[in-house]
């Protein structure tokens, strides 16, 4: 960020344009282009054909006709289902992010404070589970949480409960699955941030008579803001559109936008409405994030 704000000279050195070009090309190819294709489908109407939607452009007598169907977007406003599913997704994403933060922060903090040798081992322990397929780990949770699963059997054996606790197919299971699955995405940026924290600042605070908890609130926490934000974004954004975890662990009332998208696409075979929904979801996610990002970078500039 900083280097960019130092007004670059008009002519970039030869190599740099290519290095800069690579990420832009990547964005164009894997973000802008697919986005345009989805946008195109969202403006067409359903048909019984391969692929199952009408073409936007038609040629008759050398005249190109373009027909745009805005009905798909209007339909989304028509029905409260889409709004409530979206709000529910935001809610699940928010609490999952909070959960990840509450669990992840102490972990990252402890890692950053341990010896370099321990750090390597702890880092490995955080990353080790992701060497197994994500799907298999979600299935493992199904085995743990089900009525006849390990947890219930253990509690029954201990005599703490008389009948199995209902955990599978509930929102509780969805939260467990999401927090478990996304925890590394919270811990790693936090750790990367906390490990760079200059210990002399903490020493200075304690020399000046600050207690450790007070030091944490006034020194460590504000300085790790960047890590908290990065980790939260990495958890929050994919969770909003999460499909697999609620589908496998959730019950029928864990209604999330990913599931609605699936229904439009598969049950209704209505690709245009599904695309319209995807576009709206993207826009609704991108705008607050972009605004937030701008606010952040301005603040960083002001501080520096």
């Amino acid at each position: 960020m900083k280097t960019l704000s130092l007004k670059p000279t008009l002519k970039l050195p030869n190599g740099r344009i290519w290095t800069l070009g690579v990420p832009y090309f990547w964005l164009l190819l894997f973000f802008a282009l697919p986005f345009l294709i989805v946008l195109k489908i969202s403006l067409s109407s359903m048909a019984i054909a391969i692929p199952p939607y009408e073409s936007l452009f038609s040629f008759t007598d050398e005249v190109m006709e373009i027909s745009l169907n805005l009905g798909n977007f209007l339909l989304l406003l028509d029905d409260s289902l889409y709004v409530s599913a979206y709000l529910n997704s935001l809610q699940v994403a928010f609490f999952s992010t909070l959960g990840c933060l509450l669990i992840g922060y102490p972990m990252a903090y402890a890692m950053a404070r341990s010896t370099p040798r321990q750090q390597t081992i702890l880092l490995l322990l955080i990353m080790l589970p992701s060497w197994t397929s994500f799907l298999i780990r979600v299935y493992a949770w199904m085995g743990l949480l089900s009525d006849t699963g390990l947890i219930n059997n253990f509690l029954l054996w201990l005599g703490l409960i008389d009948s199995p606790l209902r955990m599978m197919n509930t929102n509780f299971a969805v939260y467990i699955g999401i927090i478990y699955g996304y925890l590394p995405f919270m811990v790693l940026p936090l750790y990367a941030n906390l490990v760079k924290l200059d210990p002399s600042l903490l020493e200075a605070a304690s020399d000046l008579g600050s207690r450790s908890l007070h030091t944490f609130w006034t020194v460590t926490l504000p300085l790790s803001k960047g890590g908290i934000i990065a980790g939260s974004m990495l958890v929050f954004i994919p969770t909003v559109g999460e499909f697999v975890i609620p589908e496998l662990l959730g019950g029928p009332n864990s209604l999330m936008i990913g599931k609605i998208l699936w229904q439009e696409f598969f049950n209704n075979r209505d690709w245009p409405v599904a695309s319209a929904l995807a576009i709206v979801m993207l826009v609704l996610l991108i705008i607050p994030i972009a605004l937030f990002h701008r606010y952040q970078s301005r603040q960083m500039e002001a501080e520096s």
């Binding site: 006849t148 009332n253 598969f266 049950n267 075979r269």
Partner: protein, 365 residues
């Protein structure tokens, strides 16, 4: 979903491994079929007989299959959609016409069944039935007796009367996550035409389904096999063969769970899973070899024995295991057959109303 994802991943990995090492002359065939829907040795026998390598993937819903077919270039040579989905897919131009000259075993098919199936595929030009079955009720005999005091289930009352299903809430009830099957069952119970033609019919069924919704644990189209076998649920509205597989699994596991299947007296939906070839199939000759192999009476009889679904092959019935052939849950009696109905191809408008209503029902809102 469970077997679906596992097996798909496995098949994909195997497929990828195969691509790397396949010799130019190795003949291959890509088949996409329902999960748990073939005998253990069918593919191996076919490979041994013909030298054609079969790459076999599975799905557990018509919707998933259809989405793949509609995007074009599915990469499969043989797929198995249900009759109610097939009609629209044929109109979309997905399938090629079958050349009966290459299918000498075609004459084994049951002519009266083929006539019924012309509704979906006029002239039977694109498909033939693989297996078929009914959508009925599977239950845990002991738990139902404990909860309701009955030895067997004979009516849909057990599901659609709130006072009955309420008693089963704690032991667990599951419904298929297939509005295209649950709505017809509900409408049939209410004495309406099982195939909805208007939003009004959907609304009517929705009202009934919302009343029983609080007592349903989950909606899923394959998980109930394992759960019924383990005793995690005590009642499932599901596909006949799947429930009979659950019964077998419980017997194998010797866990004391006793599963039974019922085609209730009010009648049940019948589905036919149809073998067809996408128009862009690459291994056409290999596909014909496999289709003809499936039409062999002994081959398909072995499949029926293994998965407990009847087939559409009249010549095969004599080879089907007696226990399967005489099980009224698998091969319904003449009396029951008269109460069965088939699923029709619904209009997009009705489908949309149905999906929307299904979401409301599932989320309980």
């Amino acid at each position: 979903m469970k077997p679906f994802i596992h097996k798909t991943l496995l098949a994909m990995t195997l497929g990828a491994a195969m691509c790397g090492t396949a010799q130019a002359e190795q003949k291959t065939l890509h088949v996409y079929n329902w999960s748990d829907y073939i005998a253990e040795d069918t593919l191996a026998n076919f490979e041994a007989a013909t030298g054609i390598k079969v790459i076999y993937d599975v799905f557990d819903s018509n919707e998933v299959l259809e989405a793949k077919l509609l995007s074009g270039h599915s990469g499969y040579d043989i797929v198995v959609p249900s009759n109610s989905f097939l009609a629209k897919q044929i109109r979309a131009g997905i399938f090629m016409e079958l050349d009966r000259g290459k299918l000498p075993n075609w004459s084994n098919l049951d002519p009266s069944l083929m006539k019924t199936l012309e509704q979906a595929d006029p002239g039977n030009q694109h498909s033939f039935p693989y297996l078929w079955g009914t959508t009925g009720i599977g239950y845990n005999v002991d738990k139902i007796k404990a909860a309701l005091g009955v030895d067997e289930i004979t009516s849909w009352d057990v599901i659609f009367k709130p006072e009955n299903i309420a008693k089963l809430k704690d032991c667990g009830v599951s419904l298929l996550d297939a509005p295209s099957e649950i709505f017809p069952a509900t409408l049939n119970y209410l004495g309406e035409d099982p195939n909805p033609t208007s939003a009004d019919a959907i609304a009517k069924a929705e009202k009934t389904l919302l009343e029983i919704r609080p007592y349903v644990r989950y909606f899923h189209s394959s998980k109930y096999i394992t759960d019924l076998a383990n005793g995690d649920i005590c009642l499932a509205v599901g596909w006949s063969g799947d429930i009979l597989q659950a019964k077998d699994r419980a017997i194998e596991a010797d866990n004391g769970v006793n599963v039974a299947y019922s085609i209730p007296q009010e009648g049940a939906g019948t589905f036919f899973d149809m073998v067809a070839m996408p128009a862009d199939a690459k291994n056409v000759d290999e596909a014909y070899a496999f289709l003809n192999y499936l039409l062999e009476p002994k081959v398909i009889a072995a499949v029926s024995d293994y998965v407990a679904y009847p087939n559409g092959n009249a010549a095969a019935t004599q080879y089907v295991d007696e226990a399967i052939r005489n099980d009224p849950g698998i091969y319904p009696s003449k009396e029951t057959s008269e109460k069965l109905y088939t699923f029709a191809d619904l209009s997009p408008k009705v489908i949309r109303a149905m999906t929307r209503s299904w979401t409301r029902i599932k989320s309980g809102q």
